[in-house]
Amino acid sequence: MMTSHAPYFIAAWIFLWGLYGIVTSKNLVHQVVCLAILQTSTYVLLLAIGFKVGGTAPVFADIPVGTVVVDPLVQALMLTDVVVEATVMALLLSMVVKANELAGTVDPEELRILTG
């Protein structure tokens, strides 16, 4: 069981490291990057779920229909996921840059404006 499930545990491992990075971060840019790492855990999980031993890519340009291929649907989900990642990160980064312009710091410890 261990080897056949190892990729799933790698996904969980990356997920927890991403959370750790966000929690301990002392720089908002670093925090955004950790969020991106957190997201890659979902890629690994989806990839591992849809994989088939001996399967090829689901592109029938050179291979006949009916060949064993890996699950195409998880790949479609991952594509959406990649786009979502890029856009959310772009938005978050712009918030960090603007906050730095206005407050002069990107350390969440120093940036505590909203409390209580």
Binding site: S25, Q31, I49
Partner: protein, 606 residues
């Protein structure tokens, strides 16, 4: 006829958003406003037509004509619309229109990016309420989130809005990835994404660890959106800094959609698999709901930043709504959605009133504004009406919802839920009344200052030009609050809600409608029960709220017996300190909550 309209509430605002974004600088601000308001008004009409078409039976719409194949394999994406989802879409469009009209006079420097984002936000929330596909729900969730993050950080002249938006974005994005993990797990098990197909595939086999884990992640993700303790921290930050018309949407419908998603996913997917553990699940979620209601209520009374106060009242009401789901019975669910609709318009109206205060008086902290609002009688009247609505008293629609949920709780020997409702109603209504008495009447001594009221919000408008509230601000606020009353005038409201809640919780019927294109017979409407006892109880709650507010304001004159209000108003220092504005803290709490909820699942549902 209705079928052709179904994609339009999503497609039309998206096209309009792209058009406004492209031509905004040429056609000018007013044309953009007009176009945006016209689009959202069109959407009101469309969503109401769809609501009429789905009043007593579900409509299924397959995008790209991809009907399910042979032995129930779904190839495309479906919208599966019942009256509950459709009415949430109506709420969304009404609140968006009110927000857009309110924004007519404010935001002079947003370069016409505000209106497209509002339209996208609206389209996303409509789609979220309509969809019948697990992954599509996630994509709408992300679309909703991204436009919400951008709208939240709108006021870029000071760092606070950016920090609020950042905290909001980090917590919600982590939640979104959890949802995605949950979806991946379900896909691994069932190889399907449509609610109906996933649900049928899981069937009634007792849930194993994988199913419980996916339930855990999906519900944590959506509960983070719904601001359930301990995932609620972002909400106060985001509401304190977001512009008032945006807060209307955040509090009025976005948070509620989080609750709706949990209910929908549970009802269509997990219900059969967890049928043996319903009572344990009920207890877990009821306790979570009660904690949320209590924390939100106490924090609400301890706040002196007007918007933050309203934000915590939303958290506390989100707790009540979760209680409506947690009972896992049609009656509570019917009550919940009546409650969501009436709370949405009332809270939206109150946030618009807060926007009026900010416009007229240029500040938002209760302690700075003591007596400044004398003469704004109409706004004061709206605040008092809104407080009465929050108290769940007649003639507001909140009364109907509350009484149905409390009745349902009684049948499960969970009578204490009633007292949680009473507590939340009293304390949130009293907080709003207290603010009204101090700001508009100038009664008693000025409010004490606290940490959060130090953060003053930059006004959304330049110095007031005239000494009157413009009609474009006052009318939407008044209309929203009055809609909270009008909702009770819908004929057979409770019976229809009950019939819809019955089919909402009927997993097999749902699957047959979606997968086998079955036409179920229209339900027979049951007459609804009398609510005399609830009227009495809620009137008592309203009166007690009034007394509490008066007691707080005049405590120095009335003697030592009222000193407890000082403590209430100061709040618990330790709990306040937890709301630290640090995204790392919030994510640590999110992890904590997930682990705790997961632990309870392992312990009781295994």
């Amino acid at each position: 006829m209705i079928t052709a309209l179904i994609p339009l509430p999503i497609a039309i605002p998206l096209i309009a958003a792209a058009f406004i974004a492209l031509t905004g600088n040429w056609i000018g601000r007013r044309a953009c406003d007009t176009l945006a308001i016209a689009t959202s008004s069109t959407n009101i009409v469309l969503t109401i037509l769809i609501l009429r078409g789905t009043w007593l039976h579900t409509q299924v719409y397959w995008f790209g004509n991809w009907w399910p194949r042979g032995d129930n394999v779904v190839l495309g994406i479906s919208f599966t619309i019942d009256a509950i989802g459709a009415s949430l879409a109506v709420l969304t469009t009404v609140l968006t229109t009110a927000g857009l009209i309110f924004a007519w006079k404010i935001f002079e420097d947003t370069e016409n990016h505000f209106q497209p984002l509002m339209l996208i936000f609206m389209a996303a929330m409509c789609g979220f309420a309509y969809t019948g596909d697990l992954f599509n729900l996630f994509v709408f969730f992300e679309l909703m989130s991204v436009s919400a993050f951008a709208l939240c950080g709108l006021k870029t002249l000071e760092p606070a809005p950016l920090q609020g938006a950042f905290n909001f974005a980090v917590v919600n994005t982590v939640g979104a990835f959890m949802i995605l993990i949950g979806i991946a797990l379900l896909y691994a098990r069932t190889g399907a994404l449509n609610f109906a197909q996933v649900g049928r595939s899981l069937g009634t086999h007792p849930a194993d660890a994988l199913v419980l884990l996916s339930l855990l992640f999906i519900s944590v993700g959506y509960l983070a959106k719904a601001a359930i303790v301990p995932f609620h921290f972002w909400l106060a930050d985001a509401h304190a800094v977001a512009p008032s018309p945006v807060c209307v949407l955040f509090s009025g419908v976005m948070v509620e959609l989080g609750i709706y998603a949990v209910a929908r996913v549970y009802a269509t997917i997990f219900q059969g698999a967890l049928s043996a553990h319903t009572s344990q699940l009920r207890e877990i979620f009821l306790v979570t709901a009660a904690i949320t209601a209590l924390v939100g209520g106490f924090m609400c009374y301890a706040e002196h930043h007007l918007k933050r106060l309203l934000a915590f009242s939303t958290i506390s009401h989100a707790g009540l709504m979760l209680a409506g789901v947690a009972l896992l019975t049609p009656k509570a669910l019917a009550g919940l959605f009546i409650y969501v609709l009436s709370h949405g318009v009332i809270k939206g109206g109150l946030f618009l009133c807060a926007g009026i205060v900010l416009h007229r008086l240029q500040r938002i902290g209760e302690s700075h504004l003591h007596g400044c609002g004398r003469g704004m009688w109409f706004t004061a009247a709206l605040f008092i009406l809104g407080a009465w609505g929050l108290a769940g008293a007649a003639p507001f629609g909140t009364l109907l919802g509350e009484s149905m949920i409390s009745d349902a709780a009684k049948t499960f020997q969970q009578d204490w839920v009633k007292y949680i409702f009473m507590f939340v109603e009293i304390i949130t209504a009293a907080a709003v009344l207290r603010v009204t008495f101090r700001i508009f009447f100038g009664w008693g001594k000025p409010a004490p200052t606290d940490e959060s009221s130090q953060v003053e919000e930059l006004p959304e408008t330049k110095k007031q030009q005239a000494g009157e509230t413009p009609a474009v601000m006052f009318v939407p606020a008044a209309v929203l609050i009055l809609l909270g009353v009008c909702i009770t005038a819908i004929p057979q409201l409770r019976s229809v809600a009950q019939a819809n809640a019955d089919s909402f919780l009927n997993q097999t019927a749902y699957a047959r409608e979606v997968l086998n294109n079955a036409q179920l017979p229209a339900p027979t409407l049951q007459p609804s029960e009398a609510i005399t006892s609830s009227i009495v109880r809620s009137s008592i709650a309203g009166l007690m709220a009034l007394l509490l507010a008066l007691g707080t304001v005049f405590r120095d004159r009335l003697g030592a017996i009222l000193n407890f209000t000082r403590g209430l108003e100061r709040g618990n220092a330790a709990v306040r300190k937890l709301h630290s504005g640090h995204p790392g803290d919030y994510v640590a709490w999110l992890t904590f909550g997930t682990a705790l909820l997961g632990g309870m699942f392992v312990w009781w549902l295994r």
